[in-house]
Amino acid sequence: MEPLEPVPGPIGPGSVVEALLKKPGQVVYELSAGKSAGRVVAAILVVALAGLVAFGLAAGSFSGGVQWWAAPVKITVGTLFAALICLPSLYIFVSLSGANIRFGALAGLLAGTVALSALLLAGLTPVVWVFSQSTESLGFMGTLMVLAWLTALLAGLGFLRKGARWMGLTRGFHLHLWTLMFLVVTLQMSCALRPILGTSVDLLPKEKRFFLGHWAKVLGESAQSDTEGGERSTRGVE
């Protein structure tokens, strides 16, 4: 395991991005024992916001119109809200796993997790954008977005696991359980704040649904319209 050491040089979004990607131990050190925890958290939040907004713009480009601003706002607010409501349980689950972490440091770790995921999402933004301009299939785009989301989030959660291990985590069971719960909460957020990809008269849904039921419905409708739509729906393949 790499040694815990301070972030070299002045702290800003650039140095935090570099530390998150190459030497996460530096971020963990600053959050747990460093004197610049506040500045590190601020830089982390800037990175997280930038990454989530970029990914949201790519999602919004699929439908255009209102979604140009609605999708980035929903993705950013939904992710931060999910992190916020899962933070108390993370504190308890990490304690159950043996780690000795202050609540503030843990909040910073979670923010770092979101920031790293957002960075990866930002990296996937051009890919998502290319597809959003190439296809009109809602089912395909939805699946692609969820895959991108899960990939980025799982990679980001690696930072949380490492950080918790540095702070004394001995048993992983409770943290794995929390990880699963966090994934489910973020996916449910995507359903609660729909539409993020498609269009609707209302900005937020009037009918409440669980995300699995919603996806089954959307995929079914999308497959049907792809079959009936002919030329329009095969644009992505062409």
Partner: protein, 283 residues
């Protein structure tokens, strides 16, 4: 001897005691041993604060799916259930602790009981933002998909309660083993308390129903027939209605078979784990 919380003044000490409680969830148990061995008013009040806050938050999320008012009712009833269980079993648990050789007095018993419930309340309370968000996102009663949502929420809440119950018990048992005069006495006391609390808690939760709130029934603080039956009668009636056509002779045979199994288990336990000096030694 002064406890660390006594050095911080009245309010500061109470806050310090409340903040020390999550540390007891760690495998080592933090300061739990000291708390059981040296109960103070601040420690007792800290446990009460955590129990009330954690149980109220989780209680609100329990009833929220049915209606906001139901959530409010359950936020009051869940801490009430814990307190009533502690009060109802207080005397018995204190007696059992002494009878089973743990060396705990009544104050230590109350402290230990409240600590175990506080650990449970910490876990459920920490999960309550997620369970509340889940209830808020789910289709409500009477809406399309409402019945399925009811079942999913019921299952999720039951899993949360089971997880919190099992985890807090797993954390609390070693604490009690260390704090008691012998590990074996600590174990005996733990299982005696658990059995008593489950027995009484089940009945009290039956009296204080509804908690989840069935979709077709009105939102109310207590059911009109809250004091007209016991939990165990209801179980018996359900079992009897399921096995309506079974002959009385079969019931007697089942009771006899159950008695035989219990007797053989007891025999096996006495043979395998004799209460010797070594059994009573601390690990």
């Amino acid at each position: 001897m002064k406890s660390p919380e006594d050095e911080c003044g009245r309010v500061g000490g109470l806050v310090a005691a409340v903040l020390a409680l999550p540390g007891m969830l760690r495998p080592g148990g933090g300061e739990a041993g000291k708390w059981i061995e040296g109960p103070t008013w601040k420690r007792v009040v800290a446990c009460l604060v955590v129990v009330v806050m954690g149980a109220a938050a989780f209680g609100y999320s329990l009833g929220l799916w049915r209606a906001g008012l139901m959530g409010g009712y359950v936020a009051v009833k869940l801490p009430m259930l814990v307190m009533l269980t502690v009060v109802t079993n207080g005397l018995l648990n204190g007696l059992l602790a002494q009878l089973l050789g743990s060396g705990f007095g009544f104050r230590q018993t109350v402290q230990a009981q409240l600590m175990s419930f506080a650990l449970f309340a910490l876990i459920t309370g920490a999960l309550s933002p997620v369970t509340a968000a889940m209830a808020w996102c789910a289709p409500g009663p009477g809406e399309q998909g409402g019945q399925q949502a009811y079942q999913i929420i019921l299952l999720t809440q039951t899993l949360v309660i089971a997880y919190a119950g099992v985890t807090s018990c797993r954390r609390f048992l070693p604490l009690l083993e260390r704090a008691a005069e012998t590990a074996a006495a600590g174990r005996r006391v733990f299982f005696a308390w658990l059995a008593g609390n489950l027995f009484v808690g089940a009945q009290l939760s039956w009296n204080l129903r509804p908690f989840f709130g069935q979709p077709g029934r009105p939102v109310e603080f207590l059911r009109a027939d809250w004091n007209r039956s016991s939990f165990y009668e209801a179980i018996w009636r359900n079992v009897a209605s399921l096995a309506g056509g079974v002959d009385a002779g079969v019931w007697w045979a089942l009771v006899g078979f159950g008695g035989l199994v219990l007797a053989s288990l007891r025999n096996a336990r006495v043979t395998s784990f004799p209460l010797t000096e070594t059994d009573n030694e601390k690990p």
